[in-house]
Amino acid sequence: MKKFKLVQIVLAFLLYIFLFVFIINEVADVLDFTFLIENKSMLINGAMLTIGMSIASFISSTIVGFIIFLMTESKIVFLKTIANIYKEIIMGTPLLVLVFVVVYIIGVAIGIRNKMMLGFLSLTFYMSPYMTNVFEGAYKSIDSSQFMVMDFYGFNLYQRYRYIILPQMIRPIIPGLINNLSGIIKGTSILSTIAISEIFYATSILSNKSYRYIEGYFVLWMVYLIITIPLSRLAKYLSRQENY
């Protein structure tokens, strides 16, 4: 039985490999990757920028998302409403549109011209509500009877979060944070539209110059998958671990 399962898994993988090879064969006779190898420093710099931008936006959107989370859980209706409006607006906006809004409207309004900074802000805005959702999910997993106990003993707000709520949230948020990191990495590709030379932009330039789009975008695709698939597997693995 177990052996049969393994055979099925191998077959599924083979099917995908076959499809890849088949499609690539259909669209190109000779594949030539030399232009990528010759310009590998540009690609590596692009990849570095993608990773750096992703990590920076990951940290900032986690912080902003956490603040929005605290606001949504607040008893003060004013704060709650501000947070909910923010979430609705951002989650209703495609990243591509948000980037242009940040660059041409918000950036102009607050006088920021640096495109790296604007890209970073766009990603931070865009991901923060998804970070809030991760925090909210973890918060909801805390049994209501614990809140009753905290009420009974008269825990104040700080004591609730510091000793009871946050320690129990740490484990359940990790898979969600990892998935969002993966979302950010994919999202950075949109920054190419404002000429930030992350990996997507770098690859496009090289492909344009050499007319080798197939090779260029294929390699680019693989680079994203090499980063995102392990992340998603890790998130899946961690979410299976029991929480206390």
Binding site: S145, Q146, M148, F152, Y153, G154, P167, Q168, Y244
Partner: protein
């Protein structure tokens, strides 16, 4: 502590507690019995101030319970529920020291000594560094009793503390409770274990449909005055 309920009512979708008058003064172990859904847990939540009545008053030491003196009242009582309610990310010991250190502001060393002492009384000293998930249901329930006792309450309220346990663990928990009564703690408890009520309670309240139908010393179990209590005792099969 004098606890007195005057014409207390509480409704959710329907009326759950219906105009109850009750005086708990002078008893050391009050048992609340009655069939499922008759309002026992609700009555206990009202008596502990976890919920407020829609109508009527709860009078503690001659003062009506309200938002401003609730904290002071709850400082002097303990609660234990059907499920153990321990914080799952903390060990049995930390569950108690957290309350003593951070809420009651005891010095660290003193808090730890006191917690260990309490756990020892409930025969949990060897389990104290485990988290609730890694001890048996009975041990977790005893730890939550220890936590309820940590604040030196005058009265401990218990809502079916053994309902989730098998007979052996039930006996283990109830034996500990008897031991505590002998040490002077007062109890108000909801239970289905009629044999335990006979052994332990000095006052019994029988409820049905949100009302107190009979109350009195354990004698009422041998001489039920109402058909409803008679039926209830027959159904409990003891």
């Amino acid at each position: 502590m004098k606890i007195y309920l005057k014409e207390v009512s509480k409704s959710y979708d329907k009326k759950v507690i219906d105009n109850i008058d009750l005086n708990l003064e002078g008893y050391d172990a009050v048992a609340i019995i009655g069939k499922s859904g008759c309002g026992k847990s609700t009555l206990l939540r009202l008596m502990t101030g976890i919920e407020m009545p829609d109508k009527g008053r709860i009078i503690v030491n001659d003062k009506e319970l309200n938002k401003s003196n609730l904290i002071e009242y709850q400082d002097n009582i303990g609660i234990v529920f059907q499920k153990h309610n321990l914080f799952p990310h903390l060990t049995l010991l930390q569950n108690i020291t957290l309350i003593l250190e951070k809420i009651k502001k005891l010095p660290k060393k003193e808090a730890k000594e006191k917690a260990i002492n309490l756990l020892d009384n409930l025969h949990l000293k060897d389990q104290m560094n485990k988290r609730p998930r890694f001890v048996s249901g009975g041990q977790a329930q005893r730890a939550s009793i220890a936590r309820a006792l940590a604040t030196d309450p005058e009265v401990v309220f218990m809502d079916e503390p053994t309902a989730a346990l098998d007979p052996i663990l039930t006996k283990e928990v109830l034996d500990s409770v008897i031991g505590l009564r002998n040490l002077g703690t007062k109890f108000v408890f909801v239970t289905h274990e009629i044999y335990f009520v006979r052994k332990f309670a000095d006052y019994i309240i029988f409820m049905d449909e949100g009302k107190i139908v009979e109350q009195g010393t354990p004698n009422i179990l041998d001489n039920p005055q109402t058909k409803r209590l008679q039926l209830f005792l027959e159904n409990e099969g003891r």
